[in-house]
Protein backbone atom coordinates (compact mmCIF):
# COMPACT_ATOMS: atom_id res chain seq x y z
CA UNK A 1 0.00 0.00 0.00
CA UNK A 2 1.26 3.44 -0.88
CA UNK A 3 1.46 6.05 1.86
CA UNK A 4 2.50 8.93 -0.29
CA UNK A 5 3.09 9.45 -3.97
CA UNK A 6 4.51 12.42 -5.81
CA UNK A 7 4.17 13.30 -9.45
CA UNK A 8 6.34 15.75 -11.33
CA UNK A 9 7.24 17.46 -8.08
CA UNK A 10 9.18 20.60 -8.93
CA UNK A 11 10.53 23.50 -6.95
CA UNK A 12 12.32 26.54 -8.25
CA UNK A 13 13.73 29.42 -6.23
CA UNK A 14 13.86 32.66 -8.16
CA UNK A 15 13.61 30.76 -11.41
CA UNK A 16 16.42 28.41 -10.52
CA UNK A 17 15.17 24.82 -10.36
CA UNK A 18 16.27 22.95 -7.24
CA UNK A 19 13.98 19.95 -7.53
CA UNK A 20 13.12 18.81 -11.02
CA UNK A 21 10.06 16.70 -11.64
CA UNK A 22 10.37 14.01 -8.98
CA UNK A 23 8.25 10.90 -9.27
CA UNK A 24 8.17 8.31 -6.54
CA UNK A 25 5.97 6.39 -4.15
CA UNK A 26 6.57 5.33 -0.60
CA UNK A 27 5.21 1.97 0.47
CA UNK A 28 3.66 1.59 3.88
CA UNK A 29 5.98 0.29 6.56
CA UNK A 30 9.17 0.79 4.58
CA UNK A 31 12.17 2.76 5.69
CA UNK A 32 13.32 4.83 2.76
CA UNK A 33 16.57 6.72 2.45
CA UNK A 34 16.75 9.82 0.32
CA UNK A 35 20.42 9.70 -0.54
CA UNK A 36 22.39 12.37 -2.29
CA UNK A 37 25.28 14.77 -1.94
CA UNK A 38 24.86 18.19 -0.39
CA UNK A 39 22.80 20.46 -2.58
CA UNK A 40 20.97 17.61 -4.28
CA UNK A 41 17.59 19.02 -3.21
CA UNK A 42 16.85 16.57 -0.40
CA UNK A 43 15.86 19.17 2.20
CA UNK A 44 13.71 21.03 -0.31
CA UNK A 45 11.93 17.79 -1.17
CA UNK A 46 11.22 16.94 2.46
CA UNK A 47 10.03 20.48 3.16
CA UNK A 48 7.58 20.23 0.28
CA UNK A 49 6.27 16.90 1.54
CA UNK A 50 5.79 18.37 5.01
CA UNK A 51 3.96 21.40 3.64
CA UNK A 52 6.55 23.96 4.68
CA UNK A 53 7.30 24.80 1.07
CA UNK A 54 4.82 25.01 -1.76
CA UNK A 55 5.75 23.07 -4.89
CA UNK A 56 6.27 25.16 -8.01
CA UNK A 57 4.60 22.36 -9.93
CA UNK A 58 3.51 18.78 -9.43
CA UNK A 59 1.34 17.01 -6.91
CA UNK A 60 1.73 15.19 -3.63
CA UNK A 61 -0.87 12.56 -2.80
CA UNK A 62 -1.37 11.08 0.61
CA UNK A 63 -3.46 7.98 0.58
CA UNK A 64 -5.91 7.46 3.39
CA UNK A 65 -6.38 11.18 3.78
CA UNK A 66 -9.82 12.51 3.05
CA UNK A 67 -10.38 15.43 0.76
CA UNK A 68 -9.83 18.66 2.66
CA UNK A 69 -8.26 16.98 5.65
CA UNK A 70 -5.09 18.49 7.03
CA UNK A 71 -2.23 16.22 5.95
CA UNK A 72 -0.21 17.51 8.86
CA UNK A 73 -2.28 15.20 11.08
CA UNK A 74 -0.45 12.28 9.51
CA UNK A 75 3.12 13.41 9.22
CA UNK A 76 5.94 13.97 11.65
CA UNK A 77 8.88 16.05 10.57
CA UNK A 78 12.34 16.67 11.95
CA UNK A 79 14.21 19.54 10.30
CA UNK A 80 17.94 19.30 9.73
CA UNK A 81 18.64 21.82 12.46
CA UNK A 82 15.69 21.66 14.85
CA UNK A 83 15.22 24.84 16.89
CA UNK A 84 13.20 24.82 20.08
CA UNK A 85 12.12 27.42 22.60
CA UNK A 86 15.21 27.46 24.84
CA UNK A 87 13.17 28.61 27.84
CA UNK A 88 10.95 25.50 27.77
CA UNK A 89 11.83 22.15 29.27
CA UNK A 90 11.99 19.12 27.01
CA UNK A 91 8.77 17.75 28.42
CA UNK A 92 6.95 21.07 28.21
CA UNK A 93 7.84 21.33 24.55
CA UNK A 94 6.58 17.83 23.78
CA UNK A 95 3.32 18.46 25.61
CA UNK A 96 2.97 21.78 23.79
CA UNK A 97 3.38 20.33 20.28
CA UNK A 98 1.34 17.28 21.30
CA UNK A 99 -1.58 19.53 22.15
CA UNK A 100 -1.09 21.35 18.86
CA UNK A 101 -1.53 17.93 17.23
CA UNK A 102 -4.95 17.56 18.87
CA UNK A 103 -3.93 15.42 21.84
CA UNK A 104 -5.44 16.30 25.19
CA UNK A 105 -3.04 17.55 27.82
CA UNK A 106 -3.07 14.18 29.58
CA UNK A 107 -2.55 12.18 26.40
CA UNK A 108 0.26 14.51 25.39
CA UNK A 109 1.93 14.20 28.79
CA UNK A 110 1.73 10.40 28.75
CA UNK A 111 3.01 10.18 25.20
CA UNK A 112 5.77 12.67 26.04
CA UNK A 113 6.99 10.51 28.92
CA UNK A 114 6.99 7.40 26.74
CA UNK A 115 8.93 9.12 23.99
CA UNK A 116 11.39 10.78 26.36
CA UNK A 117 12.11 7.35 27.72
CA UNK A 118 12.48 5.90 24.25
CA UNK A 119 14.89 8.56 23.02
CA UNK A 120 16.80 8.30 26.29
CA UNK A 121 16.51 11.86 27.56
CA UNK A 122 13.95 11.11 30.27
CA UNK A 123 16.39 12.20 33.00
CA UNK A 124 16.67 15.65 31.43
CA UNK A 125 12.95 16.10 30.80
CA UNK A 126 12.61 18.93 33.30
CA UNK A 127 15.72 20.74 32.20
CA UNK A 128 15.49 23.80 29.94
CA UNK A 129 16.16 22.95 26.32
CA UNK A 130 18.68 25.80 26.20
CA UNK A 131 20.97 23.57 28.23
CA UNK A 132 20.61 20.50 26.01
CA UNK A 133 23.53 19.23 23.94
CA UNK A 134 23.28 18.84 20.18
CA UNK A 135 22.58 15.12 20.47
CA UNK A 136 19.86 15.65 23.06
CA UNK A 137 18.18 18.23 20.83
CA UNK A 138 18.28 15.82 17.92
CA UNK A 139 16.59 13.17 20.04
CA UNK A 140 14.03 15.63 21.33
CA UNK A 141 13.46 16.49 17.68
CA UNK A 142 12.67 12.89 16.86
CA UNK A 143 10.38 12.67 19.87
CA UNK A 144 8.42 15.77 18.83
CA UNK A 145 8.00 14.34 15.34
CA UNK A 146 6.56 11.12 16.82
CA UNK A 147 4.27 12.74 19.39
CA UNK A 148 1.06 12.22 17.42
CA UNK A 149 2.01 8.76 16.07
CA UNK A 150 2.18 9.91 12.45
CA UNK A 151 1.78 7.56 9.50
CA UNK A 152 4.83 9.02 7.86
CA UNK A 153 7.92 10.14 9.72
CA UNK A 154 10.27 12.40 7.81
CA UNK A 155 13.74 13.06 9.15
CA UNK A 156 16.11 15.49 7.50
CA UNK A 157 19.72 14.39 8.02
CA UNK A 158 18.92 12.86 11.41
CA UNK A 159 22.47 11.65 12.15
CA UNK A 160 24.74 13.95 10.15
CA UNK A 161 25.42 16.43 12.91
CA UNK A 162 26.01 13.85 15.64
CA UNK A 163 29.19 12.35 17.05
CA UNK A 164 29.79 8.61 16.47
CA UNK A 165 28.07 7.57 19.70
CA UNK A 166 25.08 9.80 19.16
CA UNK A 167 24.91 8.60 15.57
CA UNK A 168 24.83 4.97 16.66
CA UNK A 169 22.10 5.68 19.21
CA UNK A 170 19.89 7.51 16.75
CA UNK A 171 20.34 4.77 14.14
CA UNK A 172 19.33 2.16 16.71
CA UNK A 173 16.32 4.28 17.58
CA UNK A 174 15.33 4.54 13.93
CA UNK A 175 15.69 0.79 13.60
CA UNK A 176 13.06 0.51 16.32
CA UNK A 177 10.76 3.22 14.91
CA UNK A 178 10.85 1.44 11.57
CA UNK A 179 8.59 -1.23 12.96
CA UNK A 180 5.92 1.33 13.90
CA UNK A 181 5.71 3.72 11.01
CA UNK A 182 6.87 4.55 7.52
CA UNK A 183 10.11 6.50 7.56
CA UNK A 184 11.63 8.74 4.94
CA UNK A 185 14.99 10.16 5.90
CA UNK A 186 17.60 12.07 4.00
CA UNK A 187 21.31 11.49 4.27
CA UNK A 188 24.48 12.07 2.33
CA UNK A 189 26.16 9.05 3.88
CA UNK A 190 25.63 5.83 1.97
CA UNK A 191 26.60 3.70 4.96
CA UNK A 192 23.70 5.02 6.99
CA UNK A 193 21.31 4.42 4.14
CA UNK A 194 22.54 0.87 3.58
CA UNK A 195 22.42 0.10 7.26
CA UNK A 196 18.82 0.85 8.12
CA UNK A 197 16.80 1.52 5.02
CA UNK A 198 14.82 -0.91 2.92
CA UNK A 199 14.55 1.32 -0.10
CA UNK A 200 16.74 3.93 -1.63
CA UNK A 201 16.04 7.07 -3.60
CA UNK A 202 19.28 8.31 -5.08
CA UNK A 203 19.05 12.00 -5.72
CA UNK A 204 21.43 14.31 -7.53
CA UNK A 205 21.00 17.85 -8.81
CA UNK A 206 17.29 17.82 -8.19
CA UNK A 207 16.54 14.53 -9.86
CA UNK A 208 16.01 10.97 -8.73
CA UNK A 209 18.61 8.93 -10.58
CA UNK A 210 17.93 5.52 -9.11
CA UNK A 211 15.29 4.08 -6.88
CA UNK A 212 14.34 0.69 -5.56
CA UNK A 213 15.10 -1.64 -2.72
CA UNK A 214 18.67 -1.73 -1.50
CA UNK A 215 19.05 -5.38 -2.53
CA UNK A 216 17.76 -4.86 -6.03
CA UNK A 217 20.03 -1.89 -6.55
CA UNK A 218 22.98 -3.76 -5.17
CA UNK A 219 22.46 -6.60 -7.60
CA UNK A 220 21.77 -4.31 -10.47
CA UNK A 221 24.95 -2.36 -10.02
CA UNK A 222 27.18 -5.20 -9.06
CA UNK A 223 29.61 -5.82 -11.85
CA UNK A 224 33.19 -7.03 -11.80
CA UNK A 225 35.97 -4.54 -11.57
CA UNK A 226 39.75 -4.70 -11.64
CA UNK A 227 41.82 -2.29 -9.67
CA UNK A 228 45.20 -1.74 -11.28
CA UNK A 229 48.12 0.20 -9.85
CA UNK A 230 51.30 0.84 -11.78
CA UNK A 231 54.60 2.39 -10.80
CA UNK A 232 55.21 5.76 -12.37
CA UNK A 233 52.61 7.70 -14.27
CA UNK A 234 49.53 5.55 -14.43
CA UNK A 235 47.54 7.88 -16.64
CA UNK A 236 49.52 7.00 -19.76
CA UNK A 237 48.09 3.50 -19.62
CA UNK A 238 44.47 4.62 -19.40
CA UNK A 239 43.92 4.80 -23.12
CA UNK A 240 45.53 1.43 -23.72
CA UNK A 241 43.30 -0.24 -21.15
CA UNK A 242 40.28 1.47 -22.58
CA UNK A 243 41.05 -0.04 -25.95
CA UNK A 244 40.35 -3.61 -24.78
CA UNK A 245 37.07 -4.89 -26.12
CA UNK A 246 36.31 -6.61 -22.82
CA UNK A 247 36.44 -3.35 -20.88
CA UNK A 248 33.28 -1.35 -20.21
CA UNK A 249 34.53 1.63 -18.31
CA UNK A 250 37.82 2.97 -17.01
CA UNK A 251 38.39 5.67 -14.45
CA UNK A 252 41.11 6.78 -12.11
CA UNK A 253 40.74 7.04 -8.36
CA UNK A 254 43.44 7.67 -5.78
CA UNK A 255 46.21 6.77 -8.22
CA UNK A 256 44.59 3.47 -9.12
CA UNK A 257 42.90 2.64 -12.35
CA UNK A 258 39.46 1.11 -11.95
CA UNK A 259 38.46 -1.08 -14.84
CA UNK A 260 34.86 -2.17 -15.06
CA UNK A 261 34.57 -5.33 -17.13
CA UNK A 262 31.92 -7.61 -18.49
CA UNK A 263 33.72 -10.90 -18.63
CA UNK A 264 36.25 -11.39 -15.89
CA UNK A 265 38.15 -14.23 -17.59
CA UNK A 266 38.49 -12.46 -20.87
CA UNK A 267 39.51 -9.16 -19.34
CA UNK A 268 42.09 -10.74 -17.10
CA UNK A 269 43.69 -12.43 -20.07
CA UNK A 270 43.68 -9.20 -22.07
CA UNK A 271 45.26 -7.21 -19.29
CA UNK A 272 47.86 -9.74 -18.26
CA UNK A 273 48.93 -10.37 -21.83
CA UNK A 274 49.45 -6.67 -22.36
CA UNK A 275 51.35 -6.35 -19.12
CA UNK A 276 53.78 -9.07 -20.17
CA UNK A 277 54.08 -7.96 -23.78
CA UNK A 278 54.83 -4.35 -23.05
CA UNK A 279 56.44 -4.96 -19.67
CA UNK A 280 54.21 -2.61 -17.66
CA UNK A 281 55.55 -1.74 -14.20
CA UNK A 282 52.67 -3.48 -12.46
CA UNK A 283 52.26 -2.80 -8.74
CA UNK A 284 48.84 -4.25 -8.10
CA UNK A 285 46.15 -6.08 -9.94
CA UNK A 286 43.06 -6.94 -7.93
CA UNK A 287 39.55 -8.05 -8.63
CA UNK A 288 36.70 -6.44 -6.74
CA UNK A 289 32.96 -6.12 -7.03
CA UNK A 290 31.48 -2.71 -7.60
CA UNK A 291 29.10 -1.60 -4.92
CA UNK A 292 26.51 1.04 -4.33
CA UNK A 293 29.39 3.16 -3.14
CA UNK A 294 30.82 3.16 -6.65
CA UNK A 295 27.46 4.01 -8.10
CA UNK A 296 27.08 6.82 -5.60
CA UNK A 297 30.56 8.18 -6.22
CA UNK A 298 30.09 8.00 -9.94
CA UNK A 299 26.84 9.90 -9.72
CA UNK A 300 28.24 12.50 -7.40
CA UNK A 301 31.32 13.15 -9.48
CA UNK A 302 29.45 13.67 -12.69
Amino acid sequence: MTVIGVEKLTKAFKGKPIVKGLEFQLEKGRCVALLGPNGAGKTTTLRMLSGLLKPTAGTINFSGVQQGEDIRNHIGYLPQYPVFHPWMTGKEFLVYVGQLAHLTKQEAAEKADQLLEKVAIYESRNQRIGKYSGGMKQRLGIAQAMIHSPQLLMLDEPVSSLDPIGRREVLTLMEELKTQTTILFSTHILGDAEEISDDLLLMHQGEILESGSINTLRQKHQSAKFEIALFGDTSTYLEKIKAFSSVQDVYQEKGEVHVVVEDIELARKDILTKVLEEDWPLEKLALSKTTLEDLFMKVVKK
Binding site: L52, L53, R72, Y77, P79, P82, W87, Y96, Q144
Partner: protein
Protein backbone atom coordinates in the same frame (compact mmCIF):
# COMPACT_ATOMS: atom_id res chain seq x y z
CA UNK B 1 -7.98 23.45 22.48
CA UNK B 2 -5.10 24.66 20.36
CA UNK B 3 -5.87 28.36 20.77
CA UNK B 4 -5.66 28.11 24.55
CA UNK B 5 -2.50 26.00 24.25
CA UNK B 6 -0.71 28.70 22.27
CA UNK B 7 -2.08 31.47 24.47
CA UNK B 8 -0.82 29.72 27.59
CA UNK B 9 2.56 29.10 26.01
CA UNK B 10 2.88 32.78 25.12
CA UNK B 11 1.90 33.90 28.62
CA UNK B 12 4.39 31.46 30.12
CA UNK B 13 7.10 32.68 27.77
CA UNK B 14 6.51 36.31 28.75
CA UNK B 15 6.52 35.28 32.38
CA UNK B 16 9.80 33.38 32.08
CA UNK B 17 11.57 36.21 30.31
CA UNK B 18 10.25 38.67 32.90
CA UNK B 19 8.03 40.70 30.58
CA UNK B 20 5.22 40.38 33.09
CA UNK B 21 7.47 42.19 35.58
CA UNK B 22 9.21 44.88 33.59
CA UNK B 23 6.47 45.92 31.20
CA UNK B 24 4.05 46.93 34.00
CA UNK B 25 6.91 48.67 35.84
CA UNK B 26 7.85 50.64 32.73
CA UNK B 27 4.21 51.58 32.22
CA UNK B 28 3.95 52.83 35.80
CA UNK B 29 6.93 55.09 35.22
CA UNK B 30 5.59 56.25 31.85
CA UNK B 31 2.17 57.05 33.29
CA UNK B 32 3.15 58.90 36.47
CA UNK B 33 6.23 60.70 35.12
CA UNK B 34 4.55 63.74 33.60
CA UNK B 35 1.78 64.46 36.12
CA UNK B 36 4.26 64.19 39.00
CA UNK B 37 7.01 66.25 37.41
CA UNK B 38 4.52 68.91 36.39
CA UNK B 39 3.14 69.16 39.92
CA UNK B 40 6.49 69.24 41.62
CA UNK B 41 8.22 71.48 39.07
CA UNK B 42 8.35 74.55 41.39
CA UNK B 43 9.83 72.53 44.24
CA UNK B 44 12.31 70.86 41.93
CA UNK B 45 13.48 74.19 40.54
CA UNK B 46 13.78 75.61 44.05
CA UNK B 47 15.85 72.73 45.38
CA UNK B 48 18.15 72.86 42.40
CA UNK B 49 18.55 76.52 43.28
CA UNK B 50 19.06 77.81 39.81
CA UNK B 51 16.51 80.61 40.19
CA UNK B 52 17.57 84.27 40.44
CA UNK B 53 16.66 86.08 43.65
CA UNK B 54 13.06 87.18 43.72
CA UNK B 55 11.87 85.21 40.70
CA UNK B 56 8.37 83.85 41.05
CA UNK B 57 7.18 80.85 39.08
CA UNK B 58 3.60 81.14 37.99
CA UNK B 59 2.65 77.61 37.09
CA UNK B 60 -0.70 77.54 35.35
CA UNK B 61 -3.21 75.74 37.51
CA UNK B 62 -3.88 72.43 35.86
CA UNK B 63 -7.16 70.55 36.14
CA UNK B 64 -7.43 66.77 36.66
CA UNK B 65 -8.43 66.06 32.99
CA UNK B 66 -5.35 67.86 31.66
CA UNK B 67 -3.17 66.10 34.20
CA UNK B 68 -4.32 62.59 33.25
CA UNK B 69 -4.01 63.49 29.57
CA UNK B 70 -0.31 64.05 30.24
CA UNK B 71 -0.09 60.34 31.08
CA UNK B 72 -1.87 59.40 27.87
CA UNK B 73 0.53 61.53 25.87
CA UNK B 74 3.48 59.66 27.31
CA UNK B 75 1.75 56.32 26.64
CA UNK B 76 1.23 57.41 23.04
CA UNK B 77 4.98 58.01 22.67
CA UNK B 78 7.10 55.85 24.97
CA UNK B 79 4.33 53.38 25.76
CA UNK B 80 3.77 52.76 22.09
CA UNK B 81 7.44 52.07 21.56
CA UNK B 82 7.42 49.55 24.40
CA UNK B 83 4.31 47.82 23.01
CA UNK B 84 5.81 47.51 19.55
CA UNK B 85 9.16 46.38 20.96
CA UNK B 86 7.63 43.54 23.00
CA UNK B 87 5.51 42.38 20.05
CA UNK B 88 7.98 42.73 17.20
CA UNK B 89 9.33 39.18 17.44
CA UNK B 90 6.14 37.36 18.38
CA UNK B 91 5.87 35.62 15.00
CA UNK B 92 8.84 37.04 13.09
CA UNK B 93 11.22 35.72 15.75
CA UNK B 94 9.84 32.19 15.53
CA UNK B 95 10.03 32.26 11.76
CA UNK B 96 13.58 33.59 11.82
CA UNK B 97 14.91 31.15 14.41
CA UNK B 98 13.21 28.15 12.84
CA UNK B 99 10.88 27.17 15.70
CA UNK B 100 8.02 27.87 13.31
CA UNK B 101 9.32 25.00 11.21
CA UNK B 102 8.49 22.64 14.08
CA UNK B 103 5.29 24.28 15.25
CA UNK B 104 3.62 24.84 11.90
CA UNK B 105 4.08 21.28 10.63
CA UNK B 106 1.71 20.36 13.40
CA UNK B 107 -1.94 20.52 12.34
CA UNK B 108 -2.57 24.01 13.71
CA UNK B 109 -4.33 26.65 11.67
CA UNK B 110 -2.43 29.82 10.94
CA UNK B 111 -5.27 31.96 12.24
CA UNK B 112 -5.21 30.14 15.58
CA UNK B 113 -1.47 30.66 15.73
CA UNK B 114 -1.70 34.37 14.91
CA UNK B 115 -4.75 35.27 16.96
CA UNK B 116 -3.61 33.43 20.10
CA UNK B 117 -0.34 35.32 20.00
CA UNK B 118 -2.24 38.54 19.41
CA UNK B 119 -4.46 37.89 22.41
CA UNK B 120 -1.51 37.04 24.65
CA UNK B 121 0.32 40.26 23.84
CA UNK B 122 -2.88 42.27 24.16
CA UNK B 123 -3.47 40.85 27.63
CA UNK B 124 0.03 41.86 28.74
CA UNK B 125 -0.43 45.33 27.27
CA UNK B 126 -3.85 45.67 28.92
CA UNK B 127 -2.58 44.75 32.38
CA UNK B 128 0.51 46.95 32.15
CA UNK B 129 -1.50 49.90 30.85
CA UNK B 130 -4.19 49.33 33.49
CA UNK B 131 -1.72 49.31 36.38
CA UNK B 132 0.11 52.36 35.04
CA UNK B 133 -3.05 54.38 34.52
CA UNK B 134 -4.57 53.38 37.87
CA UNK B 135 -1.51 54.67 39.69
CA UNK B 136 -1.53 57.82 37.58
CA UNK B 137 -5.22 58.28 38.43
CA UNK B 138 -4.40 57.95 42.12
CA UNK B 139 -1.80 60.71 41.92
CA UNK B 140 -4.02 62.93 39.81
CA UNK B 141 -6.76 62.66 42.41
CA UNK B 142 -4.27 63.42 45.16
CA UNK B 143 -2.48 66.34 43.54
CA UNK B 144 -4.79 67.89 40.96
CA UNK B 145 -8.30 67.12 42.17
CA UNK B 146 -11.04 64.59 41.52
CA UNK B 147 -11.39 62.73 38.27
CA UNK B 148 -14.60 60.68 38.29
CA UNK B 149 -14.73 56.92 37.78
CA UNK B 150 -16.80 57.45 34.64
CA UNK B 151 -14.28 59.85 33.19
CA UNK B 152 -11.36 57.58 33.97
CA UNK B 153 -13.09 54.46 32.62
CA UNK B 154 -14.09 56.24 29.42
CA UNK B 155 -10.61 57.55 28.85
CA UNK B 156 -8.98 54.23 29.71
CA UNK B 157 -11.16 52.06 27.50
CA UNK B 158 -11.35 54.33 24.49
CA UNK B 159 -7.59 54.75 24.43
CA UNK B 160 -7.16 50.99 24.78
CA UNK B 161 -8.91 50.65 21.41
CA UNK B 162 -6.00 52.58 19.89
CA UNK B 163 -3.57 50.21 21.63
CA UNK B 164 -5.46 47.21 20.15
CA UNK B 165 -4.81 48.74 16.75
CA UNK B 166 -1.08 49.16 17.53
CA UNK B 167 -0.74 45.51 18.59
CA UNK B 168 -2.67 44.36 15.50
CA UNK B 169 -0.46 46.44 13.23
CA UNK B 170 2.68 44.96 14.81
CA UNK B 171 1.32 41.43 14.39
CA UNK B 172 0.48 42.25 10.78
CA UNK B 173 4.06 43.27 10.01
CA UNK B 174 5.24 40.14 11.83
CA UNK B 175 3.64 38.12 9.06
CA UNK B 176 4.97 40.34 6.29
CA UNK B 177 8.67 40.26 7.24
CA UNK B 178 10.59 37.99 9.52
CA UNK B 179 13.21 40.35 10.89
CA UNK B 180 11.99 41.71 14.25
CA UNK B 181 13.91 45.00 13.87
CA UNK B 182 12.25 45.57 10.54
CA UNK B 183 8.84 44.88 12.09
CA UNK B 184 9.57 47.59 14.65
CA UNK B 185 10.68 50.08 12.01
CA UNK B 186 7.75 49.44 9.68
CA UNK B 187 5.21 49.70 12.50
CA UNK B 188 6.62 52.95 13.85
CA UNK B 189 6.93 54.48 10.37
CA UNK B 190 3.32 53.52 9.61
CA UNK B 191 2.05 55.08 12.83
CA UNK B 192 4.09 58.25 12.19
CA UNK B 193 2.74 58.48 8.67
CA UNK B 194 -0.81 58.01 9.98
CA UNK B 195 -0.20 60.71 12.54
CA UNK B 196 0.98 63.12 9.83
CA UNK B 197 -2.08 62.34 7.72
CA UNK B 198 -4.24 62.90 10.76
CA UNK B 199 -2.75 66.32 11.42
CA UNK B 200 -3.15 67.45 7.84
CA UNK B 201 -6.67 66.16 7.24
CA UNK B 202 -8.12 66.04 10.74
CA UNK B 203 -10.97 68.43 9.91
CA UNK B 204 -12.08 66.10 7.12
CA UNK B 205 -11.56 62.81 8.87
CA UNK B 206 -12.81 63.09 12.45
CA UNK B 207 -12.98 59.29 12.61
CA UNK B 208 -9.31 58.68 11.85
CA UNK B 209 -7.70 56.26 14.38
CA UNK B 210 -5.03 58.71 15.49
CA UNK B 211 -7.66 61.25 16.51
CA UNK B 212 -8.94 59.10 19.39
CA UNK B 213 -6.86 60.90 22.03
CA UNK B 214 -8.07 64.30 20.78
CA UNK B 215 -11.67 63.17 21.09
CA UNK B 216 -10.93 61.78 24.55
CA UNK B 217 -9.78 65.29 25.56
CA UNK B 218 -13.04 66.61 24.24
CA UNK B 219 -14.97 63.99 26.16
CA UNK B 220 -13.26 64.94 29.43
CA UNK B 221 -13.92 68.63 28.82
CA UNK B 222 -17.57 68.29 27.89
CA UNK B 223 -18.58 65.36 30.02
CA UNK B 224 -20.28 63.52 27.17
CA UNK B 225 -18.95 61.08 24.63
CA UNK B 226 -18.69 62.88 21.28
CA UNK B 227 -20.00 61.09 18.21
CA UNK B 228 -16.56 61.41 16.59
CA UNK B 229 -15.11 59.26 19.38
CA UNK B 230 -17.59 56.48 18.68
CA UNK B 231 -16.83 56.79 14.98
CA UNK B 232 -13.07 56.79 15.38
CA UNK B 233 -13.27 53.84 17.76
CA UNK B 234 -15.39 51.85 15.35
CA UNK B 235 -13.02 52.60 12.48
CA UNK B 236 -10.00 51.66 14.60
CA UNK B 237 -11.53 48.36 15.69
CA UNK B 238 -12.59 47.64 12.13
CA UNK B 239 -9.06 48.28 10.87
CA UNK B 240 -7.68 45.99 13.58
CA UNK B 241 -9.95 43.17 12.46
CA UNK B 242 -8.95 43.77 8.85
CA UNK B 243 -5.29 43.63 9.81
CA UNK B 244 -5.79 40.28 11.55
CA UNK B 245 -7.59 38.82 8.55
CA UNK B 246 -4.85 40.15 6.27
CA UNK B 247 -2.17 38.67 8.56
CA UNK B 248 -3.72 35.24 8.24
CA UNK B 249 -3.89 35.62 4.49
CA UNK B 250 -0.29 36.81 4.17
CA UNK B 251 1.17 34.13 6.45
CA UNK B 252 -0.55 31.49 4.33
CA UNK B 253 1.26 32.73 1.24
CA UNK B 254 4.60 32.64 3.04
CA UNK B 255 6.86 29.64 3.05
CA UNK B 256 7.94 28.59 6.50
CA UNK B 257 11.45 27.71 5.42
CA UNK B 258 13.89 28.96 2.85
Amino acid sequence: MQWITILKKELLEDWRNFKWIWVPLVFIIICIMDPLSTYYLPQILESVGGMPEGAVIEAPKMGPPEAIMLSLQEVSMLGLLVIVAISMAVIAGERKSGVAELVLVKPVSYFTYISAKWAAKLLLVFIAYLIGMLISWYYVNLLFGDLSVAQFTGLFLFYFIWLIFVVSLTIFYNTVVKIPGLVLTLTIVTIMAMSAINQIFSYRMPWFPNSISEHISGMLAEGTIPNELWGASAVTLGLSILLMVASNFILKTKEMAD
